[in-house]
Symmetry: C2
Amino acid sequence: MSAPRGGPGCAVVVGTGLIGTSIALALRGRGTEVWLSDTDQAAARLAAELGAGQVLPPAGRPGGPADVAVLAVPPAAVARSLAAAQRQRLARCYTDVASVKERPLREAAELGCDLASFAGGHPMSGRERSGPAAARSDLFAGQPWVICPTGQTAASCVTTVTELARACGAQPVQLPAAEHDRWVALISHVPHLVAGAMAARLADAPRGALALAGPGLRDVTRIAAGDPSLWTEILAANATAVREILLGVARQLGAAADVLAAVAAGDDDAVKQLTALLEVSREGVARIPGKQGGPAPHYTIVQVVISDQPGELARLFAAAGAAGTNIEDVRIEHSPGLPVGVAELSVRPEAAEPLSAALAAGGWPVASPA
Amino acid sequence: MSAPRGGPGCAVVVGTGLIGTSIALALRGRGTEVWLSDTDQAAARLAAELGAGQVLPPAGRPGGPADVAVLAVPPAAVARSLAAAQRQRLARCYTDVASVKERPLREAAELGCDLASFAGGHPMSGRERSGPAAARSDLFAGQPWVICPTGQTAASCVTTVTELARACGAQPVQLPAAEHDRWVALISHVPHLVAGAMAARLADAPRGALALAGPGLRDVTRIAAGDPSLWTEILAANATAVREILLGVARQLGAAADVLAAVAAGDDDAVKQLTALLEVSREGVARIPGKQGGPAPHYTIVQVVISDQPGELARLFAAAGAAGTNIEDVRIEHSPGLPVGVAELSVRPEAAEPLSAALAAGGWPVASPA
């Protein structure tokens, strides 16, 4: 992955939550002049203290309109945030980061916003934690960033927003807003409701049963822990697309229930049907790109066999440090019953080969980077 | 957590997959004499090479019946495996590890097995990887291990199986087989089908949509990647209990779809109903014990603030090594945009306080263990 080039010289970030602050940090890392604004002034100040830029004065940027203003506010606030920003002439081009795209666009048109200077965006990155303190400048590195220009959007504005996404290390993907909304219904909004429907069964479950729960149940239900207010906004703004796919999932569960009834009644064909259902499901999982539950795709893993002794990791990290490599993340796999373990070192892709070579030369059993 | 005491002096493990080999490793670590058997002789030999015990000769254990035989075979094979083991007089007491308990018991009765010497078991542990090479002696440490004696089970056999579970570091929980089966339907079997119903929607989805998928979709669908043959066995053996709960989930999805239709039609009350549904879901998630997505519950995490430099981790691990602490796992949280990061060191609970104190004394900014 080569370093991003170009990008705006000057940006305003409206809304310094996780996404807004992460964009600001990424831009600051490239030397962009960044101004921060939030209805919660403490959030804007915290973002500024993290190095994400300067707090925007009430009168706007001292030097006049910025190259781009990023409206990093919840979906229902995008249109009025755009209208306010355009009234204030905050920037020459505007974008947002909301996870639905058609409805904010419709609302912006209704509010009389200038749609020539607006190209909506949706960086496909997030974390379970929220707020400016959870921000990371590399949140978008290597991840898709959907941009939804309309027929009215000026070409220069599409270019500016595309360069913004690249400046954050993301991969820009242009899509019509309607197609974006159908796709995120499938990959994000419906999964949220499906996880929620499973989680709802736990609300009055026996405590003893829940005490037996393992990581599988946690995985399936985890995203249903998301903020109900934000998710109401998202789902309401994409209700029709979400409903259609949701009914498909409900039909699939009904079919599984019918097959189970037949299985319980001793129908051997139904057992085969059950296997067939499970096979289709497994094929669906296999179609999701990326290593299941693996590291962020912008790191490469180097596996090293280590002995299960207190001093061993210190020696390994000293060797990696001597090779000039920064270890981004580490995972240790070992069984106390076995004399050896495996350290999985996450490093920048370009560092993987030199690190492997250095460790191998030092006598460490190293597997080649995948 | 104190070290386990007691446990069998001699055990046979029938089936050297992930669970069987992990039990064998745990028992070997305590000095128990362990004999290994598998229909796949290579699997039994590999388990033996990992230090899990000796391969059982065809004529059985040289010294006569073992204290306990663990039938670590798939659910549908438990009853005939028990019958064969009892014919061969492999042990004085028998248990299994299958994730359904009523049906194998019924099948064992039908095959004329001796039910006085059988107490079914279900260690609530697993990994996404399978086979003897994925085995870990600490797979069961701190985890529940359900034991389902019947009215016919001899008290001495219940005691033996309880001691076996404790010897593996697990927490024995006695439950009637029917209750176990209803509970695992809720926390394991239904989640598998719910994940599968979501995953099935992906089987013919546009590739471009899947390219936008994030960790949320992966989490929700991950367990649906499990082996369809094994899961057919499990679900078929527990069909009635699974079906009942599954219909509840399907009804919940139907209710969500109805609410979305009303939201799309502009019904403001429906928006409130949507929030209410999401809140019940969030309450359900919150009832699952244990840190969401966190480490295995038998480790304690020590958080240390570190600077983002190559030599820093080596210094940290050297300091931990000097304190005599074995680090079980490490996670680094940092943003390249920030000058500091956080290392999360997983250690045995009893090591957390001494490690924190040692690091603090050495000038490291350490957060107290939670």
